[in-house]
Subunit: 204 residues, 2 copies
Amino acid sequence: MTPDATRRDRADRPLTLTEQARRAQLIRVTTDLVARHGYAGTSLARIAEAAGLSKAAVLYHFPSKDAVVRAAYAAAIEALVAEVGAAVEAASGADALAAYVRSLVAHLRAHPEHARMIVEAIAEETGVTDRPDAPSRRQSVAALVEAARSTGDYRPDVDPDLAAVLVNGAVDAIVAEQLARPDFDSGRAADELVELLDRSYRRR
Amino acid sequence: MTPDATRRDRADRPLTLTEQARRAQLIRVTTDLVARHGYAGTSLARIAEAAGLSKAAVLYHFPSKDAVVRAAYAAAIEALVAEVGAAVEAASGADALAAYVRSLVAHLRAHPEHARMIVEAIAEETGVTDRPDAPSRRQSVAALVEAARSTGDYRPDVDPDLAAVLVNGAVDAIVAEQLARPDFDSGRAADELVELLDRSYRRR
DNA sequence: CGGTGTTTCTACCGCATGGTAGAAAATCTG
DNA sequence: CAGATTTTCTACCATGCGGTAGAAACACCG
């Protein structure tokens, strides 16, 4: 008995080459579809069609449509975190916060599909979250502000939590504006935001 | 012939009492539904059920489900614009921009359902826009910044368009944070944002 | 009370959705 | 080449969607 001993439980080792390739392809086309038609307009059938497959084939590689979208979202976040994280860790004090602002804006300008993906995922409450134990974006940025405070770059009375909310909001607005108006110079906007933070928060 | 001379074209005068009451009720329940379940999760059947009606009855009062949502959105925007507009016009120069920030945050804290409604409508691209000739939010705020510049409150080298993007982003972030964390003091955050703008943009 | 116009209901339609069953290709392994 | 395993396909299903038809309540006006 035990009729299903062949397909070993899933999550067993090797992960075929085609498997990897298909997963990557599906993540790619899903990201593009979300970028073009929004989250709600991205159906399983569309994903399958864009990949040149049938719906069933897609669901062979992922347990559900939501899993595909979640994987695409995770990939976008991973790329973002990798680049921004590196930029931030290469600096310290107020420079680290400036690096955060500039590298985040730059990354999402270079990868607008990821921008749409991330924005849409945030808007929906699909519970498509990161690990819930991970620090929130606000908390991470608040830590940067606090670091800038402790190095003496920023005044001691700056509220890190509040500053983090404002900074993230401004960054998101820059990214959104860039998405809506390609002529918008988001790099300059990021510089402007950094200058604004300097003027307001620096010790003088 | 002309079988339909009774129901005179629509948009004829009086608009019955029940009509008004039903429309208002439908807008109310739709706003609440969008606030609770998001735009995508607000179906015609749900709206009807929440109003204690059948789907057909809802579509008797509105030509389509989208029309209901659009009406609810328009109502939220109208209330917002009325309050914020009044607050802004009661001040001038940099004070007008401060009034914009404070009154917008205050209004959406007092009416969180409207906040969700507006956020969702923005996120979706349902073409549920205002009149397309109306100035965009960014343009309106840019005008406020320019006014503050021309009164001499703000430095002449402040870029109104860029400042508008940053201010709106920060305001939205404050509203969103308030929505996510009821303990968040959005009033204080608004004050903080105003102070930040003063420190950065004021002539000194 | 009778008639007229309103508001609402039940029952349906067509469609798109996410997902499944089972068989057919394609591919790898010996 | 033969057998097993993978990948993919063609149906199909149930569900929820927005919307419509036509008849029943309902309210008002003479």
